[in-house]
Structure formats: C-alpha cells, structure tokens
Point group: C2
Chain length 472, copies 2
C-alpha cells in the first residue's frame, strides 16, 4: 500500500513521514527550522488567500513592521517579557560592529506595533485602528515538529485598538468566528471555541479566546488564538489619545493570529494510510489527470485529449496533468494519493475511443466512468461531497473521543493512555488545574456551557465547564 | 498648494516628505528599518500580485526557506562572502544560550537554497528546478532612505537550476523581460535593460542582467537584477546529479529579484508638487468618490447615491468613498491628491439632481461632467489614458536626459552637477571605469548597441556602448 508507518500503531512517526514524503516540508540545516517546499507553500498560500480576503472584508489593513525589536521593548510589559524571554533569538552584531542595544528577532509584534500605534492614535477619530501583518516570527523551541512547533514559523498577526472594552471584545470574538469559519468550512476541521485559563492565556492578555481541534491520536491542537490585550500595554507605550469629551484616554487592544500550524492540522485530521487527504476547497491541486499510455503506440492523440480536457476544466478547478512518460500509471497513482489530491482522472486509449474517463475519489477510492461532456458536473458533485464528508468524518471522530465526566479518578487512566477530550466542571483554582500535569494533560479551554456541578478535582462548586486533554 | 518641499529645488527632501505624508511608510525605532504603512503595503501587494502571477505562469513554484543561515554557509563561495560580510546582522544567542555557530539574518538566500538544491537534484529529470521565495532580507546599511535603501527590505528571490548554460542564460533573460514588462506596462516606468560591469555584478555571479530607471533628478535607479550564477556555487555545495549519459554533472544556476525599492521608483518617477501620482494599473485605490455635503441639509439621499455608485463601480475598479463629515471637501481633495489616486469623483446635491458627477483626473487636474450612466465608460477611458500618459511623460523625460557623448571631458561637469544618462564607448578596463568615481558616478550597464568607437576615458577602441550615470 504505502511505505508510511502504520497510522494506527505510530501516529507520530506516520505524521513526520507523510510531511516529508508528500514534499510538504524538508529538514533544514538550521536547528528547529524547516524548509516549506512548494507543495506545503501552495497549501499555506490557499489558506492565506482565503483568510486575507476575510481580514480585509472585515475592515483591516495589512502593514509591515520591522523583523527586529529593541530588547528593551519587550521588558515594558512585565508578563510579556517573562513569557517570551526564554525563547528569543538575539542579534548582537550588525554591520561588523557590536550593537549598543541587542535586537531580538520578533517572537510576536505587540511591542513594536503598540509603539507605532502610540504615534498614530492621536484622537478618537483615529479609532478603531485595525492592522494585520503577514510575517515570519521566531521562538527558539527545544522540541520541534514540522508545522506544529518550529523555531521559525509563518503567521498573520492582527492588532487593533478601540475606544471601548466592549468594542475590543467584539473584535476579538469576530476574528475568532472568522477562524472557526476557516477551520470548519475550508479546512473541514471541526473545532471547539473557548477561553484559556489564567495560566494558559497569552503573556500580557486579559483574556485569550482559543479554538481547539482534536487530532486522531486523542490529543488536542490549539489552532489559533484571539486576545483581549491588557491595558497595561497601552499604558506602557503611552498610547493616549484625545477622547470624544476632549479628555485623555487609552485605547483597548486586541491581537489575534493563526500560523502555518494549520497545515499540520490538515495533515493530521484528514490523512490516512496512503498519505494526505486534502479538502477540495483548500487543495492546491483538486484534480490530477493521468493519461494511461499504451506501450508501442503513438500517444499523441491521447496527450492532446488530456490537455484539451485539462484546459476546459481550468476555469472551474485547479488541475494538473501528469504526462511523465518514464513513470508507470501505478507509480503516479501512488504519488498523487500520497499528496492527497481529491480526484484523479484516468484516461487510456479505450476511454478515448468511448469519449469517457474514469474519475477516482481520493478518500474512498470510489471509481466512476463519466462521458467527457459530463466531467464538469460530475467533478462538482464529487468535490462538494468530499468536502462535506471530510468534515463529517472528523466530527464523528471528535464525538467518539469527547467524554462527559464528573471526577478525575474516573478518567485519568484513559486520559493518560488514550487521550481524548474530557468535559468536566472546575472550581477555577490553580491547584486543581495543576493536578492534570502528572497525566501530561491540561485545561484546553473554558466552555460557555455549565453542565457539571462540581470541580473535577476537589469536588467544590464548578464555575462552568472546561475541556481537559493532552495537547500538541 | 501643498506643504511638500519644492520638487524642483530639493527633490531629495520632497521624496522623504511625500513618503511620510502620503502614509506610505513611517520611521521605526530600529536603525535603518522602516514601517511600511497600509497604503505602502497595498501598493507592494499590487506589485506582488502581478509579479507572482507571472512567476507562476512561467513555471516557477514558491517555497519558504529559513530566515537564518549558518555563518559558515556564506564562506563557501569566496566572492559571495566578501560581498556581503560587512552588511550582515548576526544572531549569536538564542533560547537563552550562546550559539555554537552564529547565524546570520539572510542578506539573500543563494547559500541556503543551493544547500537544499543539492539534496533535491539527483537526476537530470529533476531539472530544471525553478523556485521563488517572497521574503524579508537584511543588509545593514549606513545611509538609508525609505524604500530605496533600508536595512530590512522585502523582495522576491527566484533561484533556478538547469542542465545547460544556454538554458540558464535564457531563464535569466526571460525573467529580466518579465521585470521590464512589469516596470513599463504596470508601473509606467520606462527602463533600460543591460548587463553590469565585472566590478558591479552580484558577488558570485558570472553575469548580472539589470534594468535601470532614470529618476527626475537625473540619477539612475537599479530597479532589479537577474543573475547567471557562477558554477562555483554548484560545486561549493556539491550539487552534482546524474546526467542523461549516466555521468556526473553540476547544474547551471540563476537568481533574480526585485524589491520594495520599486515603490520608491513609483513615487519618484510620477510624483509632482501635490504628491504621488499612481499609475491606474497599480493604484490600490483607482477612484475616490467624495460627496459634497451642503450645510444644514439632510444629506442621506446624497450618501445613498454615492454608495450606490461606488457599489456599481466596484466590479470594474478599486473604489473608495470618503464620506467623513468632519472634513471639508477641500481638505479631502488635498489628501487624496497627496495619495495619488488617479481619479476623483465629486457629487454634490445639484449634481445629484442632474444625475451627473464631476470626474477629476489627478495628473492634469482636468474636470469632466459625466451623467451617472456614462461614468463606467468615462472612467475606463480616463484611466487608460492616464496609464499611457504617465509612461510617455516619463519616457520623454528620460530622452531629454539621455546624452550620446564621446569623451568624459565633454560631459563630466554636467554629469557631476545635473546628473543624466551618458551613452559612451568603453575599453572595458577597470581604470577607466574607476575614473567616474570622482564625479560620484559609475557605469550603470553595458548596452547591446555599439554606437561609439572609442573609450570615453582613454580613447582606446570601445568594445560596446555603456551608460554612465550617478545612481541611488
């Protein structure tokens, strides 16, 4: 079948292998950094294009801020520097000289952007200010995994400033909703929105909204976050402005981001033993056409037909033709299955005579013989169905691994050994939260629901449900 | 008129001011780095979108390589390290520890990408390999100017590998032609393609193709380059592969790039005393609609009409409505002229009654009263004409500053004091080339033509025409 490690026996090994073999990424000579190869870059560009469109449609503007940040900027907000200090890469020399003040490679750009906001926001008329940046950032990681955790990664970081806390909170929630839409309707990944615990929130935030995915191995993946930033930032950068009454106010801030980690989520949630399975709406190649050459025959008619078909489909779909004459059809099928292309079209000399082709769907391997004139409509149906089925399949998987429990002792063994999502009550104490560490787990998020009456650990009154899981 | 410095008296001051006042960029707290503000970013995104489409259409694939490069990589090619060493920013500490080997922030990615090419290119079947990267790079500059020369800048860098030198040279020329098309047909900037002298070529290249623009102050601007890379690189990274005959070969390499400097070129070539003038094909906002409110009147009908018009135009043009009620029409005209928006549409209560609007073209300030139903076609004509006129205007300016001369003594005074382009012969000696330094000038490029018979300096036989100029 494939040379990939068994996906059920060793999911982690399967993941690494499929990332490299499908040519999404490669090892780089720099510790903790990967090369994102053309196929991985193409997936990221699809995600970017969709999200960038939505970021602009919701009134944000892209801008570009310096890569390097004066070290002193990070110390202006106490929690922020504590959170990021251990992970910084530091430029100490430049232009052949030692710098007077070291510069850090941005781990995130709050400090730089807030410094600029302080120059730009003079009056309430300048608000809201809604900026987004597509950028590379760096957090020096000890244990890395391609896409999921790397020292350098790509992301967008939105940064906004508002007159009222309500407006800022509405912004943070709106962008979370945009992320959920992207995840569910494009990546076909069901996600769970919620709020991070005090311990787990962004260093310097008042509140961190998150959306979590469940991976097939029972671990959760934090897929992105949207923060209501503490006013400490606005004050640390003296970001005051003249309010509507002529007085002096500080704006309320948000920041929100998703990263190339989303590519890793796509791989994990939909992949199978043959390799990737890409949701059609995000697949850089939706259809691959493979001519089945007959040995010792003139294949030019077949080649013409294949390229004519490809040209006619390109107004609707992203189509690739694999007409390499030195590979067998079997080797090609294998290669494109590994890359997760949603539909393969095979056309041999006999098909050409009958003016029909064989359409093969990637997930179930179902085959359909379709006359040339019906290929467009057959593809639309097949691709739409696959997009939906991938989401439903992931949703069902999530359901089977989502447990409602009362007390830790009931589920600690399963949590430790098999993972899964555990919806329980919590008293909001740090002690009870920390008790999860020995099982390699933690609180993924606080939910809006209040199903459980008591804390999973101490049994005191619960202040609302939470989700407990191990995580990437 | 405007508060900008006189464009004819002090072009350099005019440039800096217009960049900041039109909100293309802002100063940053990091020496030599700028913040590219939303309007500047939007122009860069327009340039990127057009070029990315062409890069893909000509068979290249985008990929993403690490920001940091092991210092030892740069020393693998002797000329390369000599060329870039003085400009490097160096990361010496990361994750709280001193690194065993320092990492440099990429000044360009040849070394990193060639290292990866060596892993990926195994057989002649892997060739050509055609990769492009959109990235930020860093060259620590002492004297900086926004967009034209900054320590960090944005660019695309194409890197390709081929079986034969002819094919590599054809690739380098093809991408140069794409750049020329972008410059002339989108940015409306006439450019001069040529080849760099031995002294001026890229550190590590066999040959550097360039395309040069002439700025209104008589200085040339190198707008981008396309290199045939020395085989030394392929050998330094042991990039060998199995050739068609089963033997061992090294590929021939190219690299090519254009940067955010193109935004600076747009500003300089087309701007006037009122500010920017953006060519319609690259302008992020092509049309701004300004309702002329009448004091003490209910303006809702006018507002409705303006937004209805905007909505109907958006399928064809990039349209903005400026309906701020706290600014006078005059202040708005001034602001949008400063930003170089090609056409302004004014609609007041009387226009509304007559179902017509006033269209004002940015370059000449010509006004045209147009009935609502004809606005689409009038805009198409106006925008097309402006795109052409900007190119022709720049071309005429270039002609008046392009001199054919025989000997340095004839033009050295003018060159030094007024700038300009001087087409002369050259013997190809370094001594004659260096004689231009005392006039603050140099050889911009070698041309294909052979008009002059003798060297501009020593009078020996010329080996082909060159262009001499001062440059940014």
């Amino acid at each position: 079948m494939s040379n990939l490690p068994d996906i059920n026996q060793d999911f982690a090994a399967w993941y690494q292998e499929v990332v490299y073999k499908a040519e999404l990424a490669d090892h780089s000579p720099v510790r903790g950094c990967i090369v994102i190869r053309p196929y991985g870059t193409a997936i990221w560009e699809m995600i970017k294009a969709r999200l960038d469109e939505r970021i602009k449609a919701t009134g944000h503007h892209n801008a570009l801020f310096p890569l390097l940040i004066p070290q002193s900027f990070l110390t202006k907000e106490a929690e922020h520097v504590e959170g990021f200090s251990p992970e910084l890469a530091v430029v100490t020399h430049a232009g052949g000289k030692e710098l007077e003040e070291p510069l850090v490679v941005r781990p995130t750009s709050e400090t730089m952007i807030h410094f600029m906001f302080a120059q730009w926001i003079r009056s309430w008329r300048d608000l809201p200010m809604k900026i987004n940046q597509w950028a590379n950032v760096m957090r020096w990681e000890m244990r890395t995994r391609p896409f999921l955790r790397t020292s350098e990664f790509y992301w967008q970081e939105g940064h906004t400033a508002h007159e009222t806390q309500e407006e800022a909170e509405a912004e943070a929630r709106m962008m979370l909703a945009e992320y959920v839409d992207l995840a569910e309707n494009y990546l076909a990944i069901p996600v769970i929105p919620g709020v991070k615990s005090e311990q787990e929130k962004f260093p310097g935030a008042d509140k961190t909204h998150t959306f979590e995915g469940l991976m097939p191995d029972g671990k959760a993946l934090q897929m992105g976050t949207s923060h209501l930033i503490s006013q400490n930032f606005a004050k640390a950068f003296d970001m005051h402005y003249q309010n509507r009454e002529g007085g002096r106010s500080y704006p309320y801030l948000t920041s929100w981001g998703v990263t190339t980690r989303l590519v890793g989520a796509l791989v994990m949630v939909h992949g199978d033993q043959k390799g990737l399975v890409l949701p059609p709406r995000i697949a850089p190649i939706q259809v691959v056409i493979i001519p089945i050459f007959k040995k010792g025959t003139e294949n030019s008619l077949l080649l013409d037909a294949v390229h004519t078909l490809a040209a006619s489909l390109r107004s609707l779909y992203r189509v690739e033709v694999d007409d390499r004459d030195y590979e067998t059809p079997g080797a090609k099928f294998y290669a494109w299955e590994l890359k997760g292309v949603p539909v393969r079209i095979e056309i041999g000399p006999r098909d050409l005579e009958k003016q029909s082709a064989v359409l093969v769907e990637r997930l179930h391997g179902t085959k359909q013989v379709v006359p040339f004139e019906n290929i467009k409509s057959a593809l639309t149906i097949m691709l739409d169905a696959l997009q939906q089925q991938l989401f439903i399949r992931a949703q069902e998987k999530q359901k089977t691994l989502w447990y409602h429990k009362t007390s830790l002792s009931e589920f600690s063994d399963r949590l430790k050994n098999q993972g899964g999502l555990y919806q329980v009550g919590w008293c909001r104490s740090k002690e009870c939260e920390d008790s999860l560490k020995e099982f390699g787990a933690g609180i993924r998020c606080l939910l809006e629901s209040r199903g459980a009456s008591q804390c999973f650990k101490c049994g005191a009154a619960s202040e609302g449900d939470i989700l407990v899981a191990k995580a990437y």
